[in-house]
Symmetry: C2
Subunit: 202 residues, 2 copies
């Protein structure tokens, strides 16, 4: 007998890969079950519609990816400003050429589905909002510890930083090139240091 | 008799409005000719396919919009760094609520068509590349006149600024809200001033 939790996870994971490559609307349930190696019956046992799978994907995969990549690692840094600079660099350096071409899966799904589906819009907004909230929380900690200049507004920096993190992936996806990514990283670093209250430490 | 240049311009302009609202693939030739008030025969007299119209739209409307909104006005500023800050603010302030919801037409078309059509990709890239090139040209002028710090790389700033201009419109489109736009503008202003060599003048 199959493990039902495992089967569901297989479907969601196969859907993530296929949708990241081809977009949500261009992906059929058949594409997903073929990739997952399960039957259509199994699919419809877990999800009533492809949309329902898309919402689950947003809340389970995309939200967790965002937290794991961008905000949870910040907890390990005594200076979260420095942590944000290092995370940006690490994510840039670990991205494959294909990752750069495919772009950010959260951004892609938002661009495709937010304008045409209100439920997607709400769920995707919640993930973007959480990204900003969590970044703000770490920036407040930075400010309390004296790493962020007193006059700086942590919410404003969090909104700008998340916009840069998403906007950089989008521009690199469209224009191509690791040099462009590195250039955007350098500017992000210089901006973060300009609002930082202590010299950079490696 | 109709003026052929005028008819063609009517078609391109109607296509721009319809595509900006509904996306390129969801817009049919019939939607465009209905909006333009011309016959399908007239359409196919000027454009062999809907794709061909899309390429013309990119080179004629989107390129000119980008130049008119973002880079041509910089020529009027003695200090282009200050000009870039003021242009960002003016475009934000003059945007209607609908403009904010619909997002940047260049960015929308790029997100939709670059991954699926190589010719679109090349044409859209050319517009984004020109945006960066023209911004760089004005930043070099700023540096030559002492408005931009000597150690700053004008190309790097141009890439970062265009990413911010596009990324801000995209985040505001997805999360909504004029307050968010103003917050992103404030951060952009502070970044530009941090690399500027003279105090801000209004």
């Amino acid at each position: 007998m199959r493990d039902p939790e495992k089967t569901r996870a297989q479907i969601v994971s196969a859907a993530f890969d296929t949708i990241h490559r081809n977009g949500f609307r261009a992906t059929s349930v058949k594409d997903i079950v073929t990739k997952a190696g399960v039957t259509e019956g199994a699919f419809f046992h877990y999800f009533r519609t492809k949309d329902e799978l898309g919402y689950a994907l947003t809340e389970e995969i995309l939200k967790e990816m965002m937290l794991d990549r961008w905000t949870r690692p910040l907890a390990a840094y005594e200076n979260p400003v420095q942590g944000m600079i290092i995370r940006f660099r690490k994510l840039m350096e670990s991205a494959s050429d294909e990752d750069l071409t495919l772009g950010c899966p959260l951004n892609n799904l938002t661009q495709e589905m937010s304008p045409v589906d209100e439920i997607f819009k709400d769920r995707l907004r919640a993930v973007l909002g959480l990204w900003i909230d969590e970044t703000e929380r770490h920036l407040k900690r930075a400010q309390a510890k004296g790493y962020l200049k007193t006059g700086v507004n942590p919410r404003q920096v969090a909104e700008f930083a998340v916009m840069i993190e998403e906007g950089s992936a989008a521009l690199v996806k469209n224009l191509g090139g690791r040099n462009l990514y590195r250039s955007l990283y350098e500017s992000f670093r210089q901006y973060m240091l300009s609002i930082s209250d202590r010299p950079e430490r490696r």
